[in-house]
Amino acid sequence: MNPVKRSPLLLALFAVSTFASAAETTTTADARVAQHYAIGKISTPPGVDPQLGGLALLPDGRLAAAFHHGQVAFYDFKTLSWKIFAEGLHEPLGLLLSKDGSLLVMQRPELTRLRDTDGDGVADRYETLFDDFGMTGNYHEFAFGPVRGPNGKLYVSLNLASAGDTIREEIRGEWSPIGLPREKFYDVADWKKNSTEAGRMYGRVKWRGCIIEIDEASGAAQLFATGFRSPDGMGFDAAGNFFINDNQGDWRGTSPVHVVKRGAFYGHPASLVWRTDWDGSEPLKLPIEKLNALRTVAAINLPHSFYASSPTEMILIPQTPAWGSFGGQLIVGEMNSGRVLRLLPEQVDGVWQGACVSFLDSPALRGGIHRLLFVGDTLYLGRTHLIWAGGEGIGTVKLTKTPFEVLTMHATPHGFRFTFTAPLAAGAAELTRWPVRRYYYKYHEPYGSPQTELTQITPSKVTVSADGLSAEVQFADLKPGFIYDFNLKGLASTQGESPLNPAIAYSLNKVPTK
């Protein structure tokens, strides 16, 4: 942005000329997306801040949405109008229809059951289902969820506090004595220095940085997993495996997607103090080797800024004709750009790994894609931003014509097997059409990580199936522990289309033996 020194009138004219050229790129990209997807929007309730914390579908077919200032409102698709159901909630960041017909909402301080007992269409009971967790009043202690597992249990995730601020004088819940003494948190003049000892993100009150399992009827809760930083997205694949993503930052070289199991630790050490078997040592001071041995690595890494900078809700694409061959795949939203990713996880010899690829990527989707919900054939996108990059309002997406894309990607003993939504054109076996950047992200305390040991590689052999719908890509030295980040823009379908989203990155934790 070069300063321009002109009169207001000339400024306006100047802007016209620069706009024309800048807009062209977008128009082209959007035109391609528009050939395959219809992107639209619905209104948000009048007078309500249009930042979304939760979306859910009601049994009567209405859409329930939770908003930043604390309202929950219902949208009637027939009348295209909103009705406020509840208000005055504290930063609601998740909605789920309960088994008993009430609506569950996760607020900063608690998981709440909203009931309309007199049938007037407005909630009159705000019942606390679960609030047995700590709060320091630090702004970063967001609370996400709930999601319901195949076992019927509810799960919520509790953010760590940020060293961007200290703690409030009055806190709620048990304080862990492990780490920087509490009085140092009140030494505000020296907070910059003290905060480095507190940890870039800290979890000194109960269950911060943890995933909590809750009984839906009684509210009884227990610790489920540790090692999280800012886990906004929780979801399940078609087989019921529990996926949770997290946000790039300290101890997060890039944003990870984990497959989460009871009792396991997923890398951010702050929450280790809340494990019942913890030995009392300061997690931040443990040697990296010890933490590395304790942790379960990410199933899928979302390369920072190239794929996602701040991943959000994860849901399954419905297996309906409307979504074609993408049905049953997991998708994840992203805050910093107008993008939704597909995740292609698989288990290889007991180890989870897999690929991420853009599903939708268009400025027309805007940023801040925080909450996702399929209703009928339409994907609804609830946006937010707070003080970060993002967007506002509720967007809609429909698939109108399946684009040429990588459909699946699997690891093989010598490389990867791809399948496509349409047959590959002749020439796809040329090795130069499959360029790969291979790298990994470091597991360490600093914020983020560079792409490490980055190498540009090409396959040693590519074999395309007779029907053109799949390809085997082999490498001379297939190394585990690396991300294989392909750019397939050189491929074409028999219709002459290049992949709509040509970049796909596979996190290879384990090379299959067969």
Binding site: P8, R108, R172
Partner: protein
């Protein structure tokens, strides 16, 4: 990527704060410039700028990043003006008539300091400029025909703004909306509150009283009179900035003292468990367990006197119940039942089943 469709306008104001038609050639700067502060500005449904006002230092370099998020597909611009010129510039924009579209409805006027392009729905852009060095209240307005009378805001440069609900420089509807609940009473808002635990509840009672109730500690914390909380800064940020009370509380509960006791007045404070609240036309009825005892606590305006009332319903007390109202020279507690001694109210189980405590003060006005 989304910024490919941005309209980027970059310009600098002269240090006098008045946009000159002719400006000196840019001077090469030796030191790398500090990254200007970014201010997000949203255009929203109902012809509104969000935020409706913001503060800046005179002479500060800022980038206003503007997004038109109006879901009703309205076109808007952002035009920053010299103090006191809003109405005349809006009139001048209307007077452009058929010349308007060509000028994107920005009248050629020295009162226009900086402006964005016209932004269609979902369009966005940014303007970099130096805040005038002359302290003042600089209006910003949308000059699209018909919008300017409603759609405006104020940049406070080196001037402290008044409480938002009383700010004459922002639209009256917006001023009202900046107060949580938009003036509705009763209204319950869970939010971070000053001088309370992090699981706090703010309640606007019918009338002019407001209270802070602490859901973490299951007790009343303080009461103030007048306008309800201004949560606009809390909501515009990430929750770090606490809401602002319109006046100083006229009563505060002592810190760390839970008032109810069971069995004996000097028994230990029971462990409390918050269970939620019911919404009534007279405000929320909180429900919690104190020890093993269930309590319903209805916060109400006092009847016939300025102040607040607590209707306590303890349906299954097994012995005497004590309410320890801390001594406060400015506040008087009374109750519909029970006996007072040294600021402690003693209730029989039958009285505790439904009793109303009233708190009044010379510090609050009728």
């Amino acid at each position: 990527m989304r910024f490919f469709h941005l309209i980027v306008l970059a310009l600098t104001l002269t240090s006098s704060g008045i946009f000159a038609q002719t400006l000196p050639a840019p001077k090469a700067k030796a030191a790398p410039a500090k990254k200007p502060r970014s201010v997000k500005m949203f255009m929203r449904d109902g012809l509104r700028f969000e935020p409706p006002r913001f503060m800046a230092e005179p002479g500060e370099e800022i980038v206003v990043e503007i997004e038109n998020n109006d879901s009703t597909d309205q076109t808007h611009n952002f035009v920053l003006l010299r103090p006191g010129t809003k109405d005349s510039v809006v009139q001048a924009a209307l007077a452009l008539v058929e010349k308007g579209p060509g000028l994107e409805y920005v009248p050629p006027s020295a009162d226009v300091l900086v402006h964005s392009r016209l932004l269609t729905a979902e369009g966005s852009g940014s303007i970099k400029f130096t805040v005038p060095t002359t302290p003042g209240i600089y209006p910003y307005v949308c000059t699209f025909p018909g919008h300017g009378m409603i759609m405006y805001g104020a940049l406070y440069a080196g001037v402290t703004p008044p409480p938002i609900e009383k700010d004459p420089n922002i639209p009256p509807m917006v001023a009202q909306g900046a107060v949580a609940g938009g003036g509705k009473r009763p209204f319950t808002q869970r939010i971070f509150m000053p001088d309370a635990g992090p699981a706090a509840v703010a309640i606007a009672l019918v009338g002019s009283q407001n209270v802070c109730w602490d859901a973490g500690q299951c007790r009343l914390r303080y009461a103030w009179q007048g306008s309800f909380i201004d949560a606009s800064e809390n909501w515009a940020g990430n929750g770090k900035i606490l809401p602002v009370l319109s006046t100083k509380p006229w009563w505060r509960a002592p810190k760390d003292v839970f008032p109810l006791r069971f069995g004996a007045a000097d028994s230990a404070a029971p462990h409390v468990k918050f269970l939620g609240y019911a919404v009534t036309t007279l405000g929320p009825v909180f429900h919690y367990r104190a020890g093993e005892t269930e309590v319903y606590e209805h916060v109400l305006p006092a009847v016939g006197r300025p102040g607040i009332a607590l209707r306590l319903q303890i349906p299954r007390a097994t012995g005497p119940v004590f309410y320890r109202a801390a001594a406060d020279p400015n506040a008087q507690w009374t109750s519909s039942a029970g006996t007072w001694q040294d600021d402690v109210l003693t209730l029989t189980p039958a009285q505790a089943a439904d009793v109303t405590l009233t708190l009044t003060s010379a510090l609050c006005s009728p």
